[in-house]
Each structure stands twice: as C-alpha cells, then as structure tokens.
Symmetry: C2
Subunit: 270 residues, 2 copies
Amino acid sequence: MAHLNSDPIGVFDSGIGGLTVVKTIMAKLPHENIIYFGDIARLPYGTKSVTTIRKFAAQTVKFLISQKVKAIVIACNTISAVAKDEVKNLAKNIPVIDVISSGSKASAFSSKNNKIGVIATPATINSDAYPTAIQKLNPKVQVFSQACSLFVPLIEEGFIDHVALELIAREYLQPLIRQQIDTLILGCTHYPLIKEVIAKIMGIHTNLIDPAISTSEELVQTLSMMKMFNLDNIAPDYRFFVTEIVPKFQSIGERFLKTQINHLELVTLD
Amino acid sequence: MAHLNSDPIGVFDSGIGGLTVVKTIMAKLPHENIIYFGDIARLPYGTKSVTTIRKFAAQTVKFLISQKVKAIVIACNTISAVAKDEVKNLAKNIPVIDVISSGSKASAFSSKNNKIGVIATPATINSDAYPTAIQKLNPKVQVFSQACSLFVPLIEEGFIDHVALELIAREYLQPLIRQQIDTLILGCTHYPLIKEVIAKIMGIHTNLIDPAISTSEELVQTLSMMKMFNLDNIAPDYRFFVTEIVPKFQSIGERFLKTQINHLELVTLD
C-alpha cells in the first residue's frame, strides 16, 4: 500500500509517557499529522510478561496500520525492549523507530570515561536492552543500570517538585554516582519531567540523554530519506486514541505535552 | 450444587494486596482451605472504568465457582466498591463478604465525635463507597476521604520505613488531621503494612480500622451460621492463582502474608 506524504506518523505507548516523545516530534516536525495510541486500559506494561507485551504491541501496530500511518514510533521503552522485532515484522515497509535504539545511538560515544548509566522501569532494566544495544555500538563502554519504580507514580501524582521525590531519587541514583558515570540515559518517557531534580543530584559533570530527542531526530532523517515530509501547508491534525477514557489522561497528558488534547477517541483492541 | 465443609474459601483481589486479608483469615480460621486469586496481568484495577472492573470481577467469580469455593471474599476495595452486586448475583447461594461492607460496619459507630476518615486508592475514593455505606448505618457520621495514590507503589517498592514515605503520608493525612477525625479506615489492603507510620502521624487519639480484620470476623460468623467450618484435622491447603507469574508476587506476597507461598499456579481468564 502506497503512502501519502500527508499520512500521519503513528506513535504508541502503553500509556501516557509517550506524549513526551510526541511533544518533541511536534517541535521538530511541526507540519506532520500525528496519531497517538495509549493502551490505558492495560497499563502498566512494565510488570507484564514478554509474551503479553508482544501480543499487545502486535494488536496496536495492526490498529496503527489500519490508520494508514507512514511511520511508526515506539515511544515506550518497555515495548522497545521486548517487542521491537515483532513490530518491525508486522509493519513491513513502514519504517519503525524506537526510543531504545535511538537513545543508544545517541549515547554510545558520548561518555568520556566510557561509563554510562541507565535509569528506567524494572521491565526495561531487566530486559538489558540498553546495555546490549550500547555495547554493540561501542564495546568499550560499561553500562550501569538502575530501576526506578517509583518515578512514574510520583510524576503522575504531581510530586515533581516535592522533597520526597528528591529523597527517593537520591536513593536510586547513589549507586550510579558511586560508579562515576558521566552520561545518564533517561530510559523512561516519563523522566524528562523530572530532569531538573536528576540533574541537580547527578551534578554538572553528568550529561543527561533524553531518548525522545534522538528519536525525533531519527524520525526527521527517516522521513527525509523517504521524501515523505508532509507538504500540506495547513495546521496539522493530532489525534489521540486510548483503550480507556480516564480523566487523568487529559490532565496529565496536557502536562506532558504542554499543549491541549482536543481529539481524544476510545478504541478497543482484541 | 451442595458444598462440602472441606471446600475452600475463595479470596480475590486485582493483585497482591488481598494477601493481607488472607493473612488474617489464616489466623482466625486456621483449619480452612483457601484459594487466592490475583489478577496480576491486568492490575491495577484502580485506574480502570467501572465496566471493565465489573467484567474482570465476573470472570474471576466464575473461576472461583469452578473451584467449588464455599464462600467468596472480595479482598479488594476497588472491586468491593464497584462490583459487589455483580459478584453476589453470580455467586447465587455462595455467601459473599467484602472489605468495604465489613469495614463500614466495624467503623460506623466507633467514632466519638462522629468524624471518620477514609484513605484509599483514587478508584475507591471516587466511588464514594465507604461514606455511602457508613452513613446508611449511622447518618450522624461525617466521612472525610483522602486518595493516597503513592502508598501502593511505595509499599511494593519496599519504602515502608523510609523518610520519603513519611513525608508523603504527612502530605496526604494533613487534611484529615485538620478535620479532627478520631477514626481512620485503612481503605486499601496494602495499607496495614504502613500502619505504624500512619499511626505515628495521626497520633494516639485516632483509632485505625483495618477492614481485613472485620472481614475475617464476618467470615467466621458466616461459616458458623452455615455450619460450614472445615472439620478435617489436617494441615489446610493454600493455593494461589495468578493471571501472570511475576517474581514480585512471591517476594512481596510473602512479605504481606508473613508465610511462604508454595502452591502458585497460572490461570488465564477470558
């Protein structure tokens, strides 16, 4: 099936975090139409098995294909970690970009002392996806991982500037500081919202990598190579699909996106 | 279908929290066989719609009936709040006991100044189930509710004795202290694990009500009335069914239960 330049970019996540990726895509590609899919009814994926996550990802990709997307962005570290290949197989000729591959490329050569840290949800950490991808690109690098389970609920509950967040963050980041990492990957799409706290704790000598930014840059390159930029000179269309309508999606989502969510639609996957 | 005295008691929850209810049942009814069901693959229920929760609860009850349970305990405040009637309809002649009805009965006349507080997940609080049940029993009572979203992840992450938990708890409990409540219902099955911190913040003049205890007491009365105590003089059989096997269930579960989980089995519901 041939795609039109005006076809949307499909971005998906288990929930709401992928909106930080949408935000950077909107900024870098202001003319592109975007479809966002968040599997609110079945989140979080982070605690589910690989089999379950792959099944859910496959259902989502079929939905995105039915919406004629010209490119697919996996805006979720958990899905990138365990289901990237399934997504690519299903997507066939539609290019697939994922936060882990992009984030790994952006960080593999960025450490001066070859010590990189990754913080993420337990599922992403347990998958070993970042260390595997980074060491493939640069075998000299040592990668130190730290699961930070509480960051997502703290962020969603709005404890972004609270001293409790800082205390918990210090607890999580201490082992990485001890390892003297000079580069830290924010391996969860929620974490850019607490970048300031993390930067404060890590100190000015640690370079923070936000994979949302490298993902958007890779998307720009991909569309450029395919000559698939949207050339319509009208306001882009942003549509948000969720498997469950919860007030939280709108309120937290707009905080993530820093803009309004106008077109929100319920979709059922089976 | 007639039941045998040796048939198990079925206890269910969206996840792991209901194990605090199982623990009190084990203590009060040490001869009873127990089947526990935790819908790990689809948790948390707290953020899902009423329709979804009712559908999931119905599937679970059908499973418990297929296991020949002689009584059903809804060991989850969210399910009790929104799906109690569906469970009773499906259970037919099998008695159903739920944490909210039991907790409300235990607290409705326990306040000297008729000011009762309830802390729970957002879903339970939004359902208004505790205030409704309590005021039906005692219209003089004022009920003050407070959602505490972060308690469950903090408890599951093991931050039980951490100062961050206390800071967050102070934040949540402050409005209830201002209302001068003298009775506080722990309206989430996870909360008994942080009872000490809550008691410390609320002070000695606040009576903490743990619905797990009243639920177990109501179960004792129900089995007594039905003459359905298990009379077998052998070690009881405890079986745990989950919709997803995660290492967390065993490790956190044993912390909740204060005993080992030996018989753990995967079950798929659709």
